[in-house]
Symmetry: C2
Subunit: 304 residues, 2 copies
Protein backbone atom coordinates (compact mmCIF):
# COMPACT_ATOMS: atom_id res chain seq x y z
CA UNK A 1 0.00 0.00 0.00
CA UNK A 2 1.65 3.23 -1.06
CA UNK A 3 -1.26 5.63 -1.21
CA UNK A 4 -4.99 5.69 -0.48
CA UNK A 5 -8.00 7.95 -0.02
CA UNK A 6 -11.43 7.73 1.58
CA UNK A 7 -14.22 10.30 1.50
CA UNK A 8 -17.72 10.62 2.94
CA UNK A 9 -20.79 10.14 0.72
CA UNK A 10 -21.15 9.13 -2.88
CA UNK A 11 -20.50 12.75 -3.85
CA UNK A 12 -16.85 12.21 -2.86
CA UNK A 13 -16.21 9.76 -5.71
CA UNK A 14 -14.93 12.13 -8.38
CA UNK A 15 -12.82 13.99 -5.84
CA UNK A 16 -11.30 10.76 -4.55
CA UNK A 17 -10.49 9.79 -8.14
CA UNK A 18 -8.80 13.13 -8.75
CA UNK A 19 -6.89 12.90 -5.48
CA UNK A 20 -5.70 9.38 -6.27
CA UNK A 21 -4.42 10.58 -9.64
CA UNK A 22 -2.30 13.14 -7.83
CA UNK A 23 -1.08 10.58 -5.31
CA UNK A 24 -0.15 8.21 -8.14
CA UNK A 25 2.35 10.80 -9.37
CA UNK A 26 3.95 11.08 -5.93
CA UNK A 27 2.07 14.23 -4.95
CA UNK A 28 1.35 15.02 -1.29
CA UNK A 29 -1.67 14.04 0.77
CA UNK A 30 -2.31 17.76 1.31
CA UNK A 31 -2.60 18.41 -2.41
CA UNK A 32 -4.75 15.30 -2.84
CA UNK A 33 -7.18 16.37 -0.12
CA UNK A 34 -7.42 19.91 -1.43
CA UNK A 35 -8.18 18.89 -5.02
CA UNK A 36 -10.62 16.20 -3.85
CA UNK A 37 -12.61 18.57 -1.64
CA UNK A 38 -12.54 21.29 -4.29
CA UNK A 39 -14.12 18.84 -6.74
CA UNK A 40 -17.07 18.41 -4.40
CA UNK A 41 -17.28 22.14 -3.61
CA UNK A 42 -17.31 23.01 -7.32
CA UNK A 43 -20.15 20.67 -8.28
CA UNK A 44 -23.43 22.60 -8.04
CA UNK A 45 -25.61 19.50 -7.80
CA UNK A 46 -24.29 18.55 -4.35
CA UNK A 47 -26.62 20.47 -2.10
CA UNK A 48 -24.68 20.28 1.15
CA UNK A 49 -21.20 21.47 0.16
CA UNK A 50 -19.79 24.56 -1.53
CA UNK A 51 -21.30 25.99 -4.73
CA UNK A 52 -24.97 25.15 -4.87
CA UNK A 53 -25.02 24.34 -1.16
CA UNK A 54 -28.34 25.00 0.50
CA UNK A 55 -28.68 28.39 2.17
CA UNK A 56 -29.40 29.18 5.80
CA UNK A 57 -32.78 30.25 7.21
CA UNK A 58 -32.35 33.68 5.65
CA UNK A 59 -31.45 32.40 2.20
CA UNK A 60 -27.67 32.91 2.39
CA UNK A 61 -25.09 30.17 1.78
CA UNK A 62 -22.61 30.00 4.68
CA UNK A 63 -19.80 27.46 4.52
CA UNK A 64 -17.52 25.74 7.05
CA UNK A 65 -14.28 23.94 6.22
CA UNK A 66 -11.10 22.63 7.82
CA UNK A 67 -7.72 21.24 6.85
CA UNK A 68 -5.35 19.34 9.14
CA UNK A 69 -1.77 18.28 8.43
CA UNK A 70 -1.10 14.94 10.14
CA UNK A 71 2.65 15.53 10.27
CA UNK A 72 2.70 18.85 12.12
CA UNK A 73 -0.86 18.77 13.53
CA UNK A 74 -1.29 22.22 11.97
CA UNK A 75 -4.94 23.17 11.52
CA UNK A 76 -6.76 25.76 9.45
CA UNK A 77 -10.50 26.31 9.63
CA UNK A 78 -13.30 28.65 8.64
CA UNK A 79 -16.89 28.86 9.86
CA UNK A 80 -19.73 30.99 8.57
CA UNK A 81 -17.76 31.98 5.46
CA UNK A 82 -19.75 33.73 2.72
CA UNK A 83 -19.01 34.30 -0.94
CA UNK A 84 -15.89 32.28 -1.68
CA UNK A 85 -15.64 29.42 -4.13
CA UNK A 86 -13.34 27.02 -2.26
CA UNK A 87 -13.51 27.09 1.52
CA UNK A 88 -11.11 24.13 1.72
CA UNK A 89 -8.35 26.18 0.10
CA UNK A 90 -8.86 29.05 2.53
CA UNK A 91 -8.72 26.58 5.42
CA UNK A 92 -5.51 25.13 4.01
CA UNK A 93 -3.93 28.57 3.69
CA UNK A 94 -4.88 29.27 7.32
CA UNK A 95 -3.15 26.06 8.40
CA UNK A 96 0.13 27.69 7.32
CA UNK A 97 -0.36 30.59 9.75
CA UNK A 98 1.28 30.62 13.17
CA UNK A 99 -1.60 32.72 14.56
CA UNK A 100 -5.20 33.34 13.52
CA UNK A 101 -5.67 29.91 11.98
CA UNK A 102 -9.40 29.57 12.72
CA UNK A 103 -11.53 32.43 11.40
CA UNK A 104 -15.29 32.90 11.60
CA UNK A 105 -17.93 35.08 10.01
CA UNK A 106 -17.03 38.34 8.29
CA UNK A 107 -13.43 38.05 9.48
CA UNK A 108 -13.04 34.82 7.52
CA UNK A 109 -14.34 36.47 4.35
CA UNK A 110 -12.05 39.44 4.98
CA UNK A 111 -9.01 37.14 5.19
CA UNK A 112 -10.03 35.33 2.01
CA UNK A 113 -10.37 38.65 0.20
CA UNK A 114 -7.00 39.88 1.56
CA UNK A 115 -5.40 36.71 0.25
CA UNK A 116 -6.97 37.00 -3.16
CA UNK A 117 -9.15 33.91 -3.06
CA UNK A 118 -11.82 33.65 -5.74
CA UNK A 119 -15.14 35.16 -4.79
CA UNK A 120 -18.30 33.43 -5.96
CA UNK A 121 -22.02 33.73 -5.47
CA UNK A 122 -22.51 30.30 -3.94
CA UNK A 123 -26.31 30.28 -4.28
CA UNK A 124 -27.54 28.63 -7.46
CA UNK A 125 -31.01 29.05 -8.93
CA UNK A 126 -31.59 25.37 -8.26
CA UNK A 127 -30.63 25.66 -4.59
CA UNK A 128 -32.75 28.76 -4.19
CA UNK A 129 -35.70 26.86 -5.59
CA UNK A 130 -35.14 23.84 -3.32
CA UNK A 131 -34.88 26.24 -0.41
CA UNK A 132 -38.09 28.07 -1.30
CA UNK A 133 -40.00 24.82 -1.69
CA UNK A 134 -38.66 23.60 1.63
CA UNK A 135 -39.58 26.84 3.40
CA UNK A 136 -43.13 26.50 2.05
CA UNK A 137 -43.35 22.81 2.98
CA UNK A 138 -42.07 23.38 6.51
CA UNK A 139 -44.62 26.13 6.99
CA UNK A 140 -47.54 24.24 5.45
CA UNK A 141 -46.89 20.98 7.30
CA UNK A 142 -45.46 22.49 10.48
CA UNK A 143 -42.27 20.42 10.10
CA UNK A 144 -38.94 20.78 11.82
CA UNK A 145 -36.82 22.50 9.17
CA UNK A 146 -33.57 20.83 10.19
CA UNK A 147 -33.11 17.87 7.86
CA UNK A 148 -30.02 17.42 5.71
CA UNK A 149 -26.41 18.12 6.59
CA UNK A 150 -23.94 16.07 4.55
CA UNK A 151 -20.34 17.15 5.05
CA UNK A 152 -17.64 15.97 2.71
CA UNK A 153 -14.71 14.63 4.73
CA UNK A 154 -11.61 13.48 2.83
CA UNK A 155 -8.63 11.56 4.14
CA UNK A 156 -5.48 10.98 2.08
CA UNK A 157 -2.37 8.92 2.70
CA UNK A 158 0.58 9.60 0.41
CA UNK A 159 3.62 7.53 -0.47
CA UNK A 160 5.65 9.41 2.16
CA UNK A 161 3.19 8.10 4.80
CA UNK A 162 1.95 11.61 5.35
CA UNK A 163 -1.74 11.94 6.11
CA UNK A 164 -4.09 14.89 5.68
CA UNK A 165 -7.78 15.35 6.41
CA UNK A 166 -10.14 18.01 5.07
CA UNK A 167 -13.81 18.82 5.56
CA UNK A 168 -16.25 21.15 3.82
CA UNK A 169 -19.96 21.80 4.21
CA UNK A 170 -22.72 24.35 3.82
CA UNK A 171 -24.01 23.00 7.10
CA UNK A 172 -27.36 22.05 8.54
CA UNK A 173 -30.16 22.80 6.10
CA UNK A 174 -32.17 25.88 7.20
CA UNK A 175 -29.66 26.63 9.92
CA UNK A 176 -29.72 29.83 11.93
CA UNK A 177 -27.32 32.37 10.43
CA UNK A 178 -23.85 31.77 11.85
CA UNK A 179 -24.57 28.20 12.93
CA UNK A 180 -21.58 25.91 12.76
CA UNK A 181 -21.35 22.19 13.41
CA UNK A 182 -18.55 19.74 13.95
CA UNK A 183 -16.98 20.14 10.50
CA UNK A 184 -14.50 22.91 11.37
CA UNK A 185 -13.92 21.63 14.93
CA UNK A 186 -10.71 19.61 15.39
CA UNK A 187 -11.18 16.33 17.21
CA UNK A 188 -14.91 16.30 16.53
CA UNK A 189 -15.31 16.72 12.77
CA UNK A 190 -11.85 15.46 11.86
CA UNK A 191 -8.41 14.52 13.16
CA UNK A 192 -5.17 13.43 11.50
CA UNK A 193 -1.90 12.15 12.92
CA UNK A 194 0.49 10.76 10.32
CA UNK A 195 2.06 8.53 12.99
CA UNK A 196 -1.29 6.72 13.31
CA UNK A 197 -4.13 7.62 10.94
CA UNK A 198 -7.04 9.98 10.41
CA UNK A 199 -10.82 10.15 10.78
CA UNK A 200 -13.65 12.40 9.63
CA UNK A 201 -17.32 12.76 10.55
CA UNK A 202 -20.62 13.64 8.94
CA UNK A 203 -24.05 13.86 10.51
CA UNK A 204 -25.77 16.11 13.02
CA UNK A 205 -22.97 18.45 14.09
CA UNK A 206 -24.76 19.44 17.27
CA UNK A 207 -24.37 15.86 18.52
CA UNK A 208 -21.07 15.03 16.81
CA UNK A 209 -19.37 17.74 18.89
CA UNK A 210 -20.54 16.31 22.22
CA UNK A 211 -17.44 14.12 22.27
CA UNK A 212 -14.36 14.39 20.00
CA UNK A 213 -14.88 11.01 18.36
CA UNK A 214 -12.67 11.61 15.32
CA UNK A 215 -9.77 12.16 17.70
CA UNK A 216 -10.86 9.17 19.77
CA UNK A 217 -10.90 6.89 16.70
CA UNK A 218 -7.34 8.00 15.84
CA UNK A 219 -6.23 7.52 19.43
CA UNK A 220 -7.59 3.97 19.49
CA UNK A 221 -5.95 3.14 16.16
CA UNK A 222 -2.76 4.26 17.89
CA UNK A 223 -3.22 1.53 20.48
CA UNK A 224 -3.13 -1.06 17.69
CA UNK A 225 -6.77 -1.38 16.73
CA UNK A 226 -7.71 -1.63 13.08
CA UNK A 227 -9.64 1.36 11.69
CA UNK A 228 -12.80 -0.74 11.67
CA UNK A 229 -12.39 -1.92 15.25
CA UNK A 230 -11.61 1.64 16.38
CA UNK A 231 -14.73 2.99 14.64
CA UNK A 232 -16.87 0.23 16.17
CA UNK A 233 -15.52 0.70 19.68
CA UNK A 234 -15.82 4.48 19.64
CA UNK A 235 -19.00 5.35 17.78
CA UNK A 236 -21.74 2.90 18.80
CA UNK A 237 -21.16 3.03 22.56
CA UNK A 238 -21.20 6.83 22.44
CA UNK A 239 -24.49 6.89 20.53
CA UNK A 240 -26.01 4.67 23.20
CA UNK A 241 -24.57 6.81 25.96
CA UNK A 242 -25.89 9.97 24.35
CA UNK A 243 -29.36 8.49 24.09
CA UNK A 244 -29.24 7.62 27.78
CA UNK A 245 -27.88 10.99 28.89
CA UNK A 246 -29.25 13.50 26.38
CA UNK A 247 -32.44 11.59 25.53
CA UNK A 248 -31.71 11.31 21.80
CA UNK A 249 -28.92 11.03 19.26
CA UNK A 250 -28.77 12.44 15.75
CA UNK A 251 -27.08 10.97 12.70
CA UNK A 252 -23.48 9.83 13.17
CA UNK A 253 -21.22 8.57 10.33
CA UNK A 254 -17.43 8.26 10.38
CA UNK A 255 -14.69 7.21 8.00
CA UNK A 256 -11.21 6.33 9.22
CA UNK A 257 -7.92 5.24 7.66
CA UNK A 258 -4.63 4.26 9.22
CA UNK A 259 -1.18 5.02 7.83
CA UNK A 260 -1.04 1.59 6.18
CA UNK A 261 -4.08 2.51 4.08
CA UNK A 262 -6.51 0.22 5.90
CA UNK A 263 -9.90 1.80 6.46
CA UNK A 264 -13.08 1.47 8.46
CA UNK A 265 -16.45 3.15 8.89
CA UNK A 266 -19.24 3.40 11.43
CA UNK A 267 -22.72 4.81 10.93
CA UNK A 268 -26.18 4.82 12.48
CA UNK A 269 -27.85 5.71 9.15
CA UNK A 270 -27.60 4.49 5.58
CA UNK A 271 -24.32 5.99 4.48
CA UNK A 272 -22.31 5.98 1.26
CA UNK A 273 -18.58 6.58 0.98
CA UNK A 274 -15.88 6.45 -1.68
CA UNK A 275 -12.54 4.72 -1.27
CA UNK A 276 -9.59 3.75 -3.43
CA UNK A 277 -5.85 3.14 -3.32
CA UNK A 278 -2.90 2.17 -5.49
CA UNK A 279 -4.37 -1.33 -5.90
CA UNK A 280 -8.07 -0.48 -6.20
CA UNK A 281 -9.94 1.92 -8.41
CA UNK A 282 -12.10 4.35 -6.43
CA UNK A 283 -15.52 2.90 -5.75
CA UNK A 284 -18.60 3.79 -3.78
CA UNK A 285 -19.77 1.58 -0.96
CA UNK A 286 -23.04 1.74 0.92
CA UNK A 287 -23.17 1.06 4.64
CA UNK A 288 -26.16 0.25 6.78
CA UNK A 289 -26.77 1.11 10.40
CA UNK A 290 -25.16 -1.35 12.69
CA UNK A 291 -25.33 -0.57 16.36
CA UNK A 292 -24.59 -4.03 17.67
CA UNK A 293 -20.85 -3.47 17.35
CA UNK A 294 -20.36 -6.63 15.36
CA UNK A 295 -18.42 -5.02 12.56
CA UNK A 296 -19.34 -2.78 9.69
CA UNK A 297 -22.16 -3.75 7.39
CA UNK A 298 -21.43 -2.44 3.91
CA UNK A 299 -21.25 -3.52 0.28
CA UNK A 300 -20.28 -2.03 -3.06
CA UNK A 301 -22.87 0.54 -4.06
CA UNK A 302 -21.93 0.92 -7.69
CA UNK A 303 -18.94 0.54 -9.87
CA UNK A 304 -17.49 3.24 -11.98
Amino acid sequence: MTYAMIGTWQMALDGVAQGLQKLATGDTSGNAVEVAVQAVENEPHFKSVGFGGLPNAEGEVETDAAFMDGDTLAIGAVAGLKGFANPISIARRLSDERFNNFLVGAGASQFAAEQGFTTKNMLTAESKQVWEERVAEVKAKNLSPYAGHDTVGMIALDDQRQMTVGTSTSGLFMKHPGRTGDSPLPGAGYYADSHIGAAAATGLGEDLMKQPLSYEIVRLMGTGLSPQAACDQVVYPFIKELRARFGKAGEFSYVAMNNAGQWGIATNVEFTFAVGDDQHQPQVYIAYPNEDVTGANYRLHEEK
Copy 2:
Protein backbone atom coordinates in the same frame (compact mmCIF):
# COMPACT_ATOMS: atom_id res chain seq x y z
CA MET B 1 -16.81 17.13 49.64
CA THR B 2 -20.21 18.39 48.59
CA TYR B 3 -19.35 21.21 46.24
CA ALA B 4 -16.29 22.85 44.68
CA MET B 5 -15.10 25.26 42.01
CA ILE B 6 -11.88 25.99 40.16
CA GLY B 7 -11.18 28.78 37.67
CA THR B 8 -8.25 29.90 35.54
CA TRP B 9 -6.18 32.96 36.53
CA GLN B 10 -6.31 35.21 39.55
CA MET B 11 -9.12 37.13 37.85
CA ALA B 12 -11.39 34.12 38.56
CA LEU B 13 -11.28 34.64 42.34
CA ASP B 14 -14.36 36.84 42.84
CA GLY B 15 -16.34 34.71 40.43
CA VAL B 16 -15.35 31.51 42.21
CA ALA B 17 -16.42 33.10 45.50
CA GLN B 18 -19.79 34.05 44.05
CA GLY B 19 -20.25 30.60 42.54
CA LEU B 20 -19.41 28.91 45.83
CA GLN B 21 -21.99 31.06 47.60
CA LYS B 22 -24.60 29.73 45.19
CA LEU B 23 -23.42 26.15 45.60
CA ALA B 24 -23.58 26.53 49.39
CA THR B 25 -27.33 27.13 49.11
CA GLY B 26 -27.79 23.96 47.03
CA ASP B 27 -27.85 25.76 43.68
CA THR B 28 -26.73 23.99 40.50
CA SER B 29 -23.26 23.85 38.98
CA GLY B 30 -24.73 25.49 35.87
CA ASN B 31 -25.86 28.53 37.83
CA ALA B 32 -22.56 28.66 39.69
CA VAL B 33 -20.54 28.63 36.47
CA GLU B 34 -22.71 31.26 34.83
CA VAL B 35 -22.52 33.71 37.74
CA ALA B 36 -18.78 33.08 38.14
CA VAL B 37 -17.96 33.75 34.50
CA GLN B 38 -20.28 36.76 34.41
CA ALA B 39 -18.33 38.25 37.32
CA VAL B 40 -15.15 38.10 35.24
CA GLU B 41 -16.89 39.35 32.09
CA ASN B 42 -18.38 42.32 33.96
CA GLU B 43 -15.10 43.54 35.46
CA PRO B 44 -13.56 46.11 33.07
CA HIS B 45 -10.04 45.78 34.47
CA PHE B 46 -9.60 42.24 33.18
CA LYS B 47 -8.25 42.86 29.70
CA SER B 48 -8.78 39.42 28.19
CA VAL B 49 -12.43 38.67 28.97
CA GLY B 50 -15.74 40.42 28.34
CA PHE B 51 -16.25 44.13 29.09
CA GLY B 52 -12.93 45.92 28.78
CA GLY B 53 -11.43 43.03 26.83
CA LEU B 54 -8.77 44.05 24.36
CA PRO B 55 -9.98 44.61 20.81
CA ASN B 56 -8.89 42.87 17.63
CA ALA B 57 -6.49 44.28 15.03
CA GLU B 58 -9.18 46.65 13.83
CA GLY B 59 -10.09 47.93 17.27
CA GLU B 60 -13.27 45.91 17.80
CA VAL B 61 -13.89 43.64 20.80
CA GLU B 62 -14.94 40.15 19.65
CA THR B 63 -15.73 37.53 22.26
CA ASP B 64 -15.84 33.73 22.38
CA ALA B 65 -17.59 31.65 25.06
CA ALA B 66 -18.87 28.17 25.75
CA PHE B 67 -20.98 26.30 28.28
CA MET B 68 -21.14 22.51 28.70
CA ASP B 69 -23.51 20.51 30.89
CA GLY B 70 -21.69 17.45 32.23
CA ASP B 71 -24.91 15.49 32.77
CA THR B 72 -26.32 15.67 29.24
CA LEU B 73 -23.11 16.68 27.38
CA ALA B 74 -25.16 19.56 25.92
CA ILE B 75 -22.98 22.36 24.57
CA GLY B 76 -23.60 25.98 23.68
CA ALA B 77 -20.93 28.22 22.17
CA VAL B 78 -20.36 31.54 20.45
CA ALA B 79 -17.34 32.82 18.51
CA GLY B 80 -16.69 36.28 17.14
CA LEU B 81 -19.62 37.77 19.08
CA LYS B 82 -19.81 41.57 19.16
CA GLY B 83 -21.70 43.92 21.40
CA PHE B 84 -23.19 41.77 24.15
CA ALA B 85 -22.43 42.03 27.85
CA ASN B 86 -22.34 38.38 28.87
CA PRO B 87 -21.22 35.88 26.22
CA ILE B 88 -21.37 33.05 28.79
CA SER B 89 -25.11 33.54 29.21
CA ILE B 90 -25.69 33.43 25.46
CA ALA B 91 -23.61 30.24 25.28
CA ARG B 92 -25.66 28.75 28.10
CA ARG B 93 -28.92 29.60 26.36
CA LEU B 94 -27.60 27.96 23.19
CA SER B 95 -26.86 24.79 25.15
CA ASP B 96 -30.61 24.41 25.63
CA GLU B 97 -31.21 24.31 21.87
CA ARG B 98 -31.59 21.03 20.00
CA PHE B 99 -30.16 22.62 16.83
CA ASN B 100 -27.97 25.67 16.13
CA ASN B 101 -26.10 25.48 19.40
CA PHE B 102 -22.79 26.91 18.14
CA LEU B 103 -23.12 30.31 16.47
CA VAL B 104 -20.40 32.50 14.99
CA GLY B 105 -20.02 36.10 13.83
CA ALA B 106 -23.02 38.23 12.98
CA GLY B 107 -25.34 35.23 13.36
CA ALA B 108 -24.34 34.92 17.02
CA SER B 109 -25.12 38.59 17.64
CA GLN B 110 -28.41 38.18 15.78
CA PHE B 111 -29.43 35.28 18.06
CA ALA B 112 -28.46 37.25 21.16
CA ALA B 113 -30.58 40.18 19.98
CA GLU B 114 -33.52 37.89 19.13
CA GLN B 115 -33.34 36.46 22.64
CA GLY B 116 -33.20 39.85 24.30
CA PHE B 117 -29.73 39.64 25.79
CA THR B 118 -28.24 42.88 27.03
CA THR B 119 -26.24 44.81 24.45
CA LYS B 120 -23.12 46.62 25.58
CA ASN B 121 -20.26 48.52 24.04
CA MET B 122 -17.51 46.19 25.25
CA LEU B 123 -14.65 48.57 24.47
CA THR B 124 -13.64 50.75 27.41
CA ALA B 125 -11.57 53.93 27.18
CA GLU B 126 -8.84 52.15 29.10
CA SER B 127 -8.76 49.18 26.70
CA LYS B 128 -8.76 51.50 23.73
CA GLN B 129 -5.76 53.30 25.17
CA VAL B 130 -3.89 50.05 25.88
CA TRP B 131 -4.65 48.95 22.34
CA GLU B 132 -3.43 52.23 20.81
CA GLU B 133 -0.22 52.09 22.81
CA ARG B 134 0.33 48.51 21.79
CA VAL B 135 -0.31 49.25 18.12
CA ALA B 136 2.28 52.03 18.29
CA GLU B 137 4.79 49.86 20.16
CA VAL B 138 4.41 46.93 17.76
CA LYS B 139 4.97 49.28 14.85
CA ALA B 140 7.91 51.14 16.41
CA LYS B 141 9.76 48.05 17.60
CA ASN B 142 8.62 45.71 14.83
CA LEU B 143 7.22 43.23 17.37
CA SER B 144 4.90 40.31 16.86
CA PRO B 145 1.57 41.74 17.99
CA TYR B 146 0.25 38.45 19.35
CA ALA B 147 0.94 38.48 23.07
CA GLY B 148 -1.80 38.02 25.66
CA HIS B 149 -4.77 35.68 25.58
CA ASP B 150 -6.06 34.76 29.02
CA THR B 151 -9.33 32.86 28.91
CA VAL B 152 -11.40 32.42 32.03
CA GLY B 153 -12.38 28.76 32.39
CA MET B 154 -14.66 27.81 35.30
CA ILE B 155 -15.54 24.35 36.56
CA ALA B 156 -18.21 23.73 39.18
CA LEU B 157 -19.30 20.61 41.04
CA ASP B 158 -22.60 20.82 42.91
CA ASP B 159 -24.03 18.78 45.75
CA GLN B 160 -25.97 16.66 43.24
CA ARG B 161 -22.62 15.64 41.71
CA GLN B 162 -23.47 17.54 38.57
CA MET B 163 -20.58 19.25 36.83
CA THR B 164 -20.53 22.19 34.44
CA VAL B 165 -17.72 24.00 32.64
CA GLY B 166 -17.76 27.44 31.06
CA THR B 167 -15.22 29.56 29.17
CA SER B 168 -15.12 33.19 28.06
CA THR B 169 -12.47 35.32 26.36
CA SER B 170 -11.89 38.29 24.11
CA GLY B 171 -9.23 36.14 22.48
CA LEU B 172 -5.71 36.62 21.28
CA PHE B 173 -4.61 40.24 21.62
CA MET B 174 -4.46 41.98 18.23
CA LYS B 175 -6.11 39.01 16.56
CA HIS B 176 -7.34 39.09 12.98
CA PRO B 177 -11.05 39.91 12.89
CA GLY B 178 -13.03 36.69 13.29
CA ARG B 179 -10.16 34.75 14.84
CA THR B 180 -11.24 32.16 17.35
CA GLY B 181 -9.14 29.91 19.54
CA ASP B 182 -9.78 26.84 21.64
CA SER B 183 -12.15 28.52 24.10
CA PRO B 184 -15.42 27.76 22.27
CA LEU B 185 -14.18 24.39 20.94
CA PRO B 186 -15.42 21.37 22.89
CA GLY B 187 -12.71 18.89 23.81
CA ALA B 188 -9.97 21.47 23.28
CA GLY B 189 -10.92 24.48 25.40
CA TYR B 190 -13.14 22.58 27.82
CA TYR B 191 -14.93 19.31 28.53
CA ALA B 192 -17.29 18.13 31.26
CA ASP B 193 -18.71 14.73 32.09
CA SER B 194 -20.50 14.55 35.43
CA HIS B 195 -19.74 10.82 35.63
CA ILE B 196 -16.03 11.69 35.76
CA GLY B 197 -14.98 15.33 35.96
CA ALA B 198 -14.18 18.40 33.88
CA ALA B 199 -11.23 20.36 32.50
CA ALA B 200 -10.61 23.78 30.94
CA ALA B 201 -7.71 25.38 29.08
CA THR B 202 -6.07 28.76 28.65
CA GLY B 203 -3.11 29.72 26.51
CA LEU B 204 -2.36 29.96 22.82
CA GLY B 205 -5.58 28.68 21.24
CA GLU B 206 -3.86 27.94 17.94
CA ASP B 207 -1.82 25.24 19.69
CA LEU B 208 -4.39 24.20 22.29
CA MET B 209 -6.67 23.01 19.49
CA LYS B 210 -4.06 20.72 17.93
CA GLN B 211 -5.21 17.93 20.24
CA PRO B 212 -8.37 17.89 22.42
CA LEU B 213 -6.49 17.80 25.72
CA SER B 214 -9.38 18.92 27.94
CA TYR B 215 -11.30 15.87 26.75
CA GLU B 216 -8.21 13.72 27.14
CA ILE B 217 -7.72 14.84 30.77
CA VAL B 218 -11.34 13.93 31.53
CA ARG B 219 -10.97 10.60 29.75
CA LEU B 220 -7.89 9.73 31.80
CA MET B 221 -9.60 10.74 35.05
CA GLY B 222 -12.26 8.23 33.98
CA THR B 223 -9.65 5.48 34.02
CA GLY B 224 -9.01 6.19 37.70
CA LEU B 225 -6.25 8.79 37.57
CA SER B 226 -6.35 11.74 39.94
CA PRO B 227 -6.92 15.12 38.29
CA GLN B 228 -3.27 15.99 38.90
CA ALA B 229 -1.97 12.75 37.42
CA ALA B 230 -4.28 13.13 34.41
CA CYS B 231 -3.07 16.69 33.80
CA ASP B 232 0.56 15.62 34.09
CA GLN B 233 0.20 12.64 31.78
CA VAL B 234 -1.72 14.53 29.11
CA VAL B 235 -0.25 18.01 28.91
CA TYR B 236 3.55 17.76 29.17
CA PRO B 237 4.03 14.89 26.72
CA PHE B 238 1.88 16.69 24.17
CA ILE B 239 3.89 19.91 24.51
CA LYS B 240 7.06 17.92 23.84
CA GLU B 241 5.45 16.16 20.90
CA LEU B 242 4.26 19.44 19.45
CA ARG B 243 7.75 20.93 19.71
CA ALA B 244 9.13 17.92 17.88
CA ARG B 245 6.48 17.90 15.16
CA PHE B 246 5.43 21.52 14.75
CA GLY B 247 8.77 23.05 15.79
CA LYS B 248 7.35 25.10 18.66
CA ALA B 249 4.65 25.16 21.30
CA GLY B 250 2.79 28.13 22.71
CA GLU B 251 1.48 28.63 26.23
CA PHE B 252 -0.54 25.75 27.68
CA SER B 253 -2.36 25.87 31.05
CA TYR B 254 -5.11 23.55 32.27
CA VAL B 255 -7.31 23.16 35.32
CA ALA B 256 -9.19 19.95 36.08
CA MET B 257 -11.56 18.68 38.76
CA ASN B 258 -13.14 15.30 39.29
CA ASN B 259 -16.63 14.65 40.63
CA ALA B 260 -15.26 14.16 44.14
CA GLY B 261 -13.98 17.77 44.09
CA GLN B 262 -10.30 16.84 43.79
CA TRP B 263 -8.40 19.08 41.40
CA GLY B 264 -5.18 19.37 39.43
CA ILE B 265 -3.39 21.73 37.07
CA ALA B 266 -0.69 21.68 34.44
CA THR B 267 1.10 24.61 32.85
CA ASN B 268 4.20 25.52 30.88
CA VAL B 269 4.11 29.17 32.05
CA GLU B 270 3.63 30.95 35.35
CA PHE B 271 -0.06 30.51 35.93
CA THR B 272 -2.50 31.59 38.64
CA PHE B 273 -5.82 29.95 39.42
CA ALA B 274 -8.58 30.19 42.02
CA VAL B 275 -10.09 27.24 43.84
CA GLY B 276 -12.43 26.62 46.78
CA ASP B 277 -14.96 24.16 48.13
CA ASP B 278 -17.31 23.55 51.06
CA GLN B 279 -14.30 23.12 53.36
CA HIS B 280 -11.98 25.80 51.97
CA GLN B 281 -12.47 29.48 51.26
CA PRO B 282 -11.62 30.40 47.68
CA GLN B 283 -7.95 31.23 47.30
CA VAL B 284 -5.52 32.01 44.53
CA TYR B 285 -2.59 29.72 43.85
CA ILE B 286 0.37 30.34 41.60
CA ALA B 287 1.88 27.54 39.55
CA TYR B 288 5.24 27.40 37.86
CA PRO B 289 6.22 25.62 34.67
CA ASN B 290 6.98 22.02 35.25
CA GLU B 291 7.65 19.94 32.21
CA ASP B 292 9.38 17.09 33.94
CA VAL B 293 6.07 15.46 34.78
CA THR B 294 6.99 15.13 38.42
CA GLY B 295 3.79 16.65 39.76
CA ALA B 296 2.44 20.17 39.85
CA ASN B 297 4.55 22.94 41.29
CA TYR B 298 2.28 25.50 42.93
CA ARG B 299 1.76 27.43 46.15
CA LEU B 300 -0.73 29.85 47.62
CA HIS B 301 -0.42 33.16 45.80
CA GLU B 302 -2.35 35.32 48.24
CA GLU B 303 -5.12 35.00 50.71
CA LYS B 304 -8.34 36.89 50.62
